[in-house]
Symmetry: C2
């Protein structure tokens, strides 16, 4: 009983330390950019011990990957919106909502996504992580297309994985465009336009 | 008369030197990769003088950008295939041919495109050049969509530039996938699939 309480307290402290480090890391990344940021700055800002910090993370890449999972987790929830459309119109509504929320988050999380983009270009660990996030999205979209094909809503003759990949590419590249402030058009118009072409191209 | 001949000879020699340098540079890039390649290696391989070499190029980025223009010029010829379709079917045929040739060149020029990808990730001059090549393609596609819209073949309610951008993104990302040997599907199947979704989505 006594021992368990000690363990719980330790575990709780450990979770708090990790959380403090992640928050400090986020601030340092945003202030310094990925390349200049150092783990020492993060440890100092989080006010935790060096040894303790390294129990949680091996280096800044490691920390960034966790921050990436956090942000992309929110994006992924969008892709997970339940997809059992009964008609072409219903499918189009859901897909439009997904594309819009995905691209809108590029605006909301712009600054962190800018850091991710820098890191993807420099670190192969981060770049691999991004690729695995991308594959997760593509597999999810692929499943949705299969569902629509099996239910007579979408064109059966198309390779669903290739279609899913092409659709995700369009969304991803627009995401980076928006992150870099390179688009004048509103997120609403972009989402509407790409969804219109995609759903009419795929659905019956 | 005499003077003109001297000038012509000089000019000819200058063109040959430039050509020798470009060929040597290509070999060095392919052997060493972008990061490791040095302009000294290129000058040595081309057997030209140092001073002469620097008359033509300021550095290896500069040389790579010219090589990029050469390769992408071939790609761009594809986009320039005359586009005056009289029907949806004709448009689909032309667009399929364009997508296929674009992606097929990723196979033919794979090794040089691998060098370009490395360089885009490292050098901001090369990355800017890539962006300007991309914009040229998008403007060209955008023009084709306008033509189809004006001639009652494509959906007028869609913003042609946003559609063009989305379509190019799909093609570009597949290009890099093929360059990295990351696709099992044939270029033929990829081109067929993405064209089928795109043309049905856009054309009436």
């Amino acid at each position: 009983m006594m021992e368990k309480e000690v363990m719980d307290k330790r575990h709780l402290r450990s979770i708090k330390t990790r959380q403090k480090l992640l928050e400090a890391a986020k601030e340092v990344f945003l202030e310094e950019g990925f390349q200049k940021a150092t783990i020492s700055q993060m440890i100092k800002k989080a006010e935790v011990g060096y040894g303790t910090a390294y129990v949680h993370f091996e280096g800044k890449e490691d920390i960034l990957i966790v921050l990436m999972e956090d942000v992309m987790g929110k994006f992924y929830e969008i892709a997970e919106i339940s997809f059992y459309p009964k008609s072409k119109e219903e499918a189009e509504n859901i897909i439009h909502k997904q594309a819009y929320s995905f691209l809108k988050m590029a605006e909301t999380e712009r600054r962190m996504l800018q850091i991710f983009e820098q890191a993807i270009g420099i670190s192969s660990a981060v770049s691999e992580k991004w690729k695995s996030i991308r594959e997760k999205f593509i597999q999810r979209i692929s499943k949705d297309i299969s569902y629509a094909q099996e239910n007579g809503l979408a064109r059966k003759e198309l390779n669903h994985e290739l279609v899913a990949r092409g659709w995700f590419f369009t969304n991803e590249m627009y995401l980076w465009d928006i992150v870099r402030n390179e688009r004048q058009e509103s997120v609403e118009e972009i989402a509407k336009t790409i969804t219109a072409v995609y759903t009419r191209g795929l659905y019956l």
